[in-house]
Symmetry: none
Subunit: 242 residues, 2 copies
């Protein structure tokens, strides 16, 4: 199955840093197509370039439009993001499971983000298939523009990841100690503790030993770590030369 | 069912805007506790306040520390975020399902984010229970600091949302040791090993100490288990009566 690579469309963005940061986080999550409708501070834009860091290629290839209508012509699915309650009959969702179901079966997808101060206008929403609201805490719904893009990009990355469904669940060989090695160590440790009179009162000895086993079995020790524990143990019990 | 509200700890952050943006996105997703270790541009900081927008209360209440050790004393689970490959034995995950399983049963959780240019140092990682890497596209792993916080905060918001939804899912707090208790034990252990000449050759001392930290931080010790380790340790190093 082919990965999806929706176009992020920034509509009348105001801050150049937000354009750059948008490109950067798109690239972090494997998206590459950016369109911009009427950026307030013009184009090309040095600040946007700088703040995009290693994603300058996305800035360089960004498509600039003077109207949203022109920007969305080629898409078969357009999703408008918004955090405002709208009195429109347009469908609105705020659940990424639904979002992911909705984008299946579409090839050319665009996702719209409005200007920082006011968000998308009702007119901007006209040609969108549905409105999506990123779920947030009730008390503060005002996400920074590039943060909104970060969450959407991240979820699209997850979507693509699930698509690929790689069943090459590789076991990375971690060189863990086996139970035999651990047991030899624990026997030695317990024996030394016993000689020093650690297990008191005697009737608690077994449960104390249970606890020691429990502690060291929780660690998932590697062979190297066990070696270190051996070294520490031997050193600690060593008597000073007289 | 009680929501979790982990503390976000920014370690030596460089850009004030990132501190403000971090507070803003924390608030978007219902987090409220911010600690900062040695912010480069000092504190209080006007730029951080401005860029936090409606989350100024998080900036106002942020706790400032001059050392990471002091910042994490009271936490029983400390997660270090990193995108670098480390040559440490510390556990590392990059899957949020595992992340969410790991944070269950802990009450006092801190999540560390390193400085923008270099990330967390190996020494910063010593007392963390595990490393978490936000999954990203292979070609560009360098997330902006506040974008990293946005993804983590968003997933914690999802976690809390799910908690409430299936409220059968009870958090059982297991009486885990906090970092202060662990640090006191490890300091004593390392000190005793040092006195016995364990750390040889000297140039390996720091990495040997890293390993000791790593081993004991993997255990998720309960208070009772730590007590037992103390007992064992004291007994082992005790000299016989002559």
């Amino acid at each position: 199955m082919k990965k999806i690579n929706p176009t992020i469309i920034l509509v009348r963005p105001q801050l150049s840093e937000n354009i750059g940061m948008t490109a950067r986080v798109m690239d972090n999550f494997g998206l590459s197509k950016l369109s911009i409708v009427n950026p307030r501070d013009g184009w090309p834009n040095k600040k946007a370039e700088t703040s995009s860091k290693h994603a300058i290629k996305i800035i360089d290839k960004a498509k600039i439009y003077s109207s949203l209508d022109n920007a969305i012509l080629k898409y078969d699915l357009v999703i408008a993001t918004s955090n405002r309650k709208r009195f429109l009959t347009k469908k609105s969702y705020n659940n990424f499971n639904i979002f992911k179901k909705k984008i299946k079966n579409f090839k050319n997808i665009a996702i719209l983000f409005g200007p920082e101060n006011s968000g998308l206008s009702n007119k901007d929403l006209r040609l969108s298939n549905f409105i999506f609201t990123i779920p947030t805490a009730y008390s503060n719904k005002s996400l920074n523009l590039s943060h909104s893009v970060s969450i959407i990009s991240y979820e699209l990355f997850n979507f693509n990841h699930d698509l690929i469904k790689n069943n090459k669940n590789q076991n990375i060989y971690n060189n863990k100690v086996d139970k035999r090695e651990l047991m030899i160590f624990l026997n030695s440790l317990i024996n030394d503790l016993d000689l020093k009179g650690f297990f008191k009162p005697l009737e608690k000895k077994e449960s104390m030993i249970d606890n020691i086993y429990s502690i060291y079995n929780k660690i998932d020790l590697t062979k190297k770590e066990l070696q270190m524990l051996w070294g520490m143990h031997k050193k600690l019990k060593k008597q000073p030369k007289s």
